[in-house]
Symmetry: C2
Subunit: 349 residues, 2 copies
């Protein structure tokens, strides 16, 4: 038994022909044993399976894929895999994909358009049946594909939502969530609030900013808003939160559009000899696994990351299985998680 395995592994891997020969049947029968076992007699099925294990046969993927025009792979592009928010979403994607018999081709675009295009052409070469992109841009070649094929193009957007792209997507209500954060801060008595956004080209930032502005206006506090533009990284959090704090009449509360930038903000606060939440309240966004273990524990907006992953896969599978014909934009629930980084301002007003 082990000898047979060994032998099988040394040779260039048995083909369906070898199995057919060994089992004394045709290649068609062997193929059927895998793809439509109900069509083949139990006795022959057994005979074939014996030959399969004897030779250690595994169907060649390329051959199968060439014939069926399917790869059973999903290409997932992400701006930064080392970001815990994205890696958690990816985890959900991987799980849902595997459950449906698909595997995941990962593309880390590093926010670079060139890499996005590289992966786009990979998709056009049919290296994957579908594409899930977690960024906010869609390379031109793919946009053209969408324009031509419409909503049955197997491309889905996750986390972000830009109506103009004309692809299905799953995301939270970023605008509403950001407004809730502001209400929370205003409710605590803060009036001078600073905001550290992400790059405004992405809807994820502009939507949240819209929510911030709407809430500020409702409260008549729009003129007291201070804004700085970050890039979601810890370092930009340190820098931008620092600039807000160094202004005259500094904010008593800062809302960062990501937990990582909030971590940076904690650092900026510490470096100035201030304390959170005593001197400055702080709110993050995402609720990454680490948010509740920071000091102070971070108040933040919890996004259902794995669920977003599941949902985008579901949307994609629906398209692939031709179960859908119109765009779907799924808004998943978020939750403001109040922890100890927010408190009423020391001297109200």
């Amino acid at each position: 038994m082990p000898r047979a395995w060994l032998a099988a592994s040394v040779e260039p891997m048995a083909t369906i022909q070898d199995v057919a020969l060994d089992a004394g049947v045709s290649t068609a029968t062997v193929s059927r044993v895998f793809s439509a076992p109900e069509l083949v007699l139990e006795a022959t099925r057994k005979k074939v399976m014996e030959a399969v294990t004897r030779l250690g046969y595994e169907p060649n993927f390329a051959a199968k894929s060439l014939r069926t025009l399917r790869t059973e792979k999903i290409l997932v592009t992400v701006p930064d895999i080392s970001n815990p928010f994205f890696s958690q979403v990816i985890r959900g994607v991987e799980e849902a994909a595997l459950a449906a018999g698909y595997s995941v081709l990962l593309g880390d675009t590093r926010h670079e358009e060139a890499r996005e295009e590289q992966y786009a052409s990979m998709f056009r070469r049919k290296e994957a049946d579908g594409l899930i992109f977690l960024g906010h841009r869609l390379p031109d070649v793919l946009a053209e594909m969408v324009a031509a094929k419409g909503p049955r193009t197997p491309i889905v957007n996750g986390c972000e939502f830009r109506p103009g792209l004309a692809v299905s997507s799953a995301h939270i209500d970023n605008e509403g969530a950001a407004a809730e954060v502001m209400e929370h801060l205003y409710g605590l008595g803060h009036t001078r609030v600073g905001v550290v956004t992400g790059p405004l080209v992405s809807p994820i930032s502009s939507d949240r900013l819209a929510g911030v502005l709407a809430a500020a206006q409702r409260r008549g506090r729009a003129s007291a808003l201070r804004m700085a533009i970050g890039d979601f990284s810890i370092e930009s959090g340190v820098r931008q939160a620092g600039e807000l704090l160094d202004q005259p009449g500094p904010p008593t509360a800062i809302f960062c559009f990501s937990d990582e930038m909030a971590m940076g903000a904690i650092e900026a606060i510490r470096r100035r000899g201030l304390s959170c939440p005593r001197d400055v309240s702080l709110v993050g966004f995402d609720d990454i696994r680490f948010a509740q273990y920071l000091s102070p524990q971070l108040t933040t907006v919890s996004q259902p990351m794995e669920q977003i992953g599941h949902e985008v896969v579901r949307l994609l599978l629906d398209i692939l299985a031709d179960r859908t014909s119109s765009l779907q934009n799924v808004t998943l629930p978020h939750r403001l998680v109040v922890r100890s980084s927010t408190a009423p301002p020391a001297s109200p007003g």
Copy 2:
């Protein structure tokens, strides 16, 4: 021009035949334009490329792969993609792979053997040219493959190192690093040291534990060691560090085998009304991006995560290009980064 693109996208994608016909050459010439442009006359090359853009042609991946028996893909399995340590390694892998013209197939095994086997059979089906696994286990089918093909089997191990597996690997000197940590703590004056390990089945844990024991013995402090077994998660850090602290004669310093567990330990310390480093010093392992932004900033062992990623890819590419014939085990440099979570004990002894 845009019309042509659109048209091309609607049709089932142009084949090499279509291009050949359109350019008035044979398919062989078209193929050569891509794989060996120097063999084809500049004029015809241009003619072909025009047809290519006109039709929006991209070579079909499955067909190419079937013929060449190469996929230009690397399968990377990882125990947990949402772990910042691993996601950083993956980032390095992705970068090096892309630079060499390979793309990354990601497998999150979730520490489950069943998933590892699923991905192993994916590799046997030739869905990838090589396999990089960041865990400590190698499924049986692959071990047999290694036994049969020897060191030219395109399988490489990253982060861990288990000589019995007989595959090349890239990792740090875990034993030495752990010993350095203990020396640091002993040097500060600590005598009662607690250790929170990972699961001892993985060399990454047992090697570090060996280093801990060796250092303790050299100092004659082996009997004062306290040990708890965690699983690298934050939660297990909270739990296991907590148990160490609740013992009579609790440790004045705790060494956790991962930064995440150290984060948990910070929480355990906080919950008991203690302070780090005043009452308890703390050391982590990995130096994930967040380690320096915790409070207190975490003393830890820095691993060159992206470099590990680059290195395993290099090892794999060497095997794939037949540039190597013997096993290579690369030990990359680590560095003890002393930050503010370690200090001399309050009452020495």
